[in-house]
């Protein structure tokens, strides 16, 4: 997968609150992310870590009382550059679904129960491809269904007449109707059984290979991301604490939280390991600890961690040329020394195109 060229999506310093004034809960703080064309970017974290909030805020779909209080979201497509946070309703409407589509967790709730599948597939065509007439739209909708392995006669069905897996496939087909550049998927397979999950993910990856769209994949299942994602960002209490290519993260995590997560589930192969969870419980977003938010649960906490919040930056000890790795931890500052398990050498990976 080529990483060359300008990034498709650049998020800098994004801050999102729920509520305002004194009641404001800071759900996302200073998030930085970069997504390239055709890349699968995974966003992992516990419930309440802010990953869904971040994704919805990017596309300005966050519901009230969510408010974006700062940052930039630069989206580049077909030569245009747009700051999604500045865009007006008309601009957003043009972009939406054309370039940026969304797939939600529960297809049962994301599909309108009183409309046929056909209507829900063709309405985007009607809105964004006015040159198509009704027959052309129907044909296109049938093609979309076939693309995800559903018989075209299902166009006349209603959502309640389909199984859970079929509904999720319909959602994917719907999202790809206009061949968008970026697909934001919020826990798309969590509600399905493992077998269907596997099928759908495989189909998704095949489609991605065929059409070349980028995916922002949000999930709490880190093991899933390691399989399908190119880059993974780990979130904790509204902050991105580590961001790295998937293989490097898996084999050589730098942040204590990421390390803890990776050692919370056993591998299928290899020697038996002692399972270590992460001590403590997720913080209350209204009463966050000072300094580094993770310090109460961190096994490597230092004095500095209680006072200052570490920025998301390139680890000092990282060899030159190895790019894409960012950590928010004082252990990786220039001059500090990280313990061995957090400073493992990331093996050289072949770039997969």
């Amino acid at each position: 997968m080529t990483r060359g060229g300008e990034p498709l999506l650049e998020v800098s310093g994004l801050c999102v609150d729920y509520g305002f004034d004194d009641d404001a809960v800071h759900a996302v703080i200073g998030a930085d992310m970069t997504l390239h064309r055709g890349e699968v970017f995974g966003l992992a974290g516990e419930s309440g870590s802010g990953k869904s909030t971040l994704a919805y805020a990017i596309s300005r779909l966050l519901r009230a009382p969510g408010v974006i209080t700062g940052g930039e979201v630069i989206f580049r497509h077909e030569g245009n550059t747009v700051n999604l946070l500045n865009a007006g309703p008309t601009q957003l409407r043009e972009l939406r679904w054309n370039q940026l589509a969304v797939v939600l967790q529960s297809a049962m709730h994301a599909l309108n129960p009183v409309l046929t599948i056909g209507t829900q597939l063709t309405d985007v065509l009607q809105a964004h491809r006015p040159e198509l007439d009704r027959q052309a739209r129907r044909t296109r909708a049938s093609e979309l269904l076939e693309m995800v392995g559903i018989a075209p006669d299902r166009l006349a069905s209603f959502p309640h007449e389909l199984s859970g897996g079929m509904r999720q496939r319909v959602m994917i087909a719907m999202a790809l109707a206009l061949r968008p550049q970026l697909l934001i998927m919020d826990e798309p397979t969590t509600a399905l059984d493992v077998v269907t999950q596997r099928e759908i993910l495989n189909e998704l990856m095949d489609l991605r290979t065929e059409f070349g769209f980028a995916v922002l994949f949000i999930t709490h299942d880190l093991s899933l991301l390691i399989e399908i994602a190119d880059t993974i960002a780990v979130m904790y209490a509204g902050r991105i604490v580590e961001s790295a290519p998937a293989g490097e993260l898996y084999l050589a995590p730098r942040h204590p939280y990421a390390y803890g997560l990776l050692h919370s589930f056993p591998g299928l192969h290899g020697a038996q390991q002692r399972m270590t969870g992460i001590a403590g419980s997720p913080p209350d977003l209204r009463q966050l600890p000072t300094g580094c938010v993770f310090h109460p649960r961190c096994g490597y906490v230092m004095d500095r961690c209680l006072r200052d919040e570490p920025p998301l930056a390139r680890p000092a000890a990282e060899p030159p040329g190895a790019d894409g790795r960012l950590v928010a931890c004082w252990l990786h500052e220039a001059g500090a020394s990280a313990p061995a398990e957090l400073a493992a050498l990331a093996p050289a990976l072949e770039s997969t195109s």
């Binding site: 800098s12 310093g13 801050c15 305002f20 004034d21 919805y56 805020a57 300005r60 779909l61 966050l62 519901r63 009230a64 969510g66 408010v67 974006i68 209080t69 700062g70 940052g71 930039e72 946070l85 500045n86 007006g88 309703p89 008309t90 957003l92």
Partner: protein, 326 residues
């Protein structure tokens, strides 16, 4: 949880309801005259409000204010009795049907549906209409009969709620311990349904006022039995609104009284509604603060507001960039 309500609506409703309750209790003692008594026999024309008669007189020179005060007690009493009895029936039938399910549920549901679908006023007219015209049933009896037609809606709502609660953990555990059915219904399920029962009660009282007033207006209930509806019966018979000099003091007070009483209860209902369903809460109090914080006046779906742009690398703080266009 039981904080003093901040919403203006609820406070207004509560205040009004209290005034009416007070009126119901002490009204007849405040009345300056006997509502039945014709004060002079000469003039056949209703007199407008004056010093002697604060709300004027009727066609046969009866004092309107006295009629209003005496009639108020009857109206409110009948409505309250109808409300209480109907709510008791609704709670009994509804929770029982929802809890036990099976044939009992089918039977009670069918019964409730029949009463729901059958138009209430015509039924009440037939029931009361066959009573001898001179029979003057007491308020309590009238309230009881009206409650027969008013319990079904509340029963249906409570049944639905009970059904969803039946499978909750605390009910299941109570059952396993061996607690008896009626105890579970009374002490586990009912306490959680109090807001709905309250709403149902208020709704039924409003219905009771409406039904009683309508029946009195039709003359089905003895017209010598003073209530706000009876006042309107006499006013309509004398075509008070069609006279060249509109005799507004005759029909306006009783009509307004009924309307305001109903409004008070409806406002209370709104308050309870908003308490149950936070989505409906009026954003009024927070709206001003929100606007001061720079948020747009109306929350628009699909257009998350952006407030205060911190441009990365520079210090541009507090600029409101989200101008609402089109």
């Amino acid at each position: 949880m039981l904080q003093f309500p901040k919403s203006g609506k609820i406070r207004l409703g509560l205040g009004m309801a209290l005034v009416f309750t007070l009126l119901a209790i002490i009204g007849p003692w405040l009345a300056p005259f006997d509502p039945n008594k014709s004060l002079t026999t000469t003039n056949g024309v209703p007199q407008p409000p004056s010093g002697a008669h604060l709300l004027g007189t009727t066609q046969v020179q009866q004092d309107v204010l006295s009629q209003l005060l005496v009639g108020g007690r009857s109206t409110i009493l009948v409505a309250l009795i109808a409300g209480v009895v109907a709510t008791v029936l609704a709670v009994g039938f509804g929770i029982t049907a929802g809890y036990y399910g099976g044939w009992l549920d089918d039977l009670l549901s069918m019964l409730a549906n029949i009463f729901l679908v059958m138009p209430a006023l015509p039924l009440l007219i037939v029931i009361f209409g066959f009573l001898n015209k001179t029979a003057n049933p007491p308020d309590v009896l009238i309230g009881l009969v009206i409650s027969i037609t008013g319990w079904a809606f509340g029963a249906r709502v409570l049944r639905a709620q009970t059904l969803s609660m039946r499978s909750r953990d605390y009910v299941t555990s109570a059952r396993i311990i061996g607690e008896r059915g009626w105890r579970i219904m009374m002490f586990e399920i009912l306490p959680n349904l109090v807001p709905i029962v309250a709403t149902s009660f208020l709704f039924t009282v409003i219905y009771g006022v409406g039904a009683y007033t309508a029946l009195s207006f039709l003359g089905v209930i003895s017209v010598s039995h003073w209530s706000w509806g009876t006042m309107l019966y006499w006013a309509q018979s004398a075509q008070a609104a069609q006279q060249v000099h509109i005799q507004w003091w005759w029909f306006l007070p009783p009509g307004l009284a009924v309307g305001l009483f109903g409004t008070a209860l409806a406002l209370l209902n709104f308050g309870i509604d908003e308490f149950i369903n936070p989505r409906l809460r009026a954003a009024g109090l927070t709206r001003r603060r929100a606007r001061q914080a720079g948020l747009p006046r109306r929350a628009q779906l699909g257009l998350t507001p952006v407030v205060g742009q911190h441009v990365v690398g520079q210090h541009v703080v507090g600029k409101q960039l989200n101008r609402e266009s089109a």
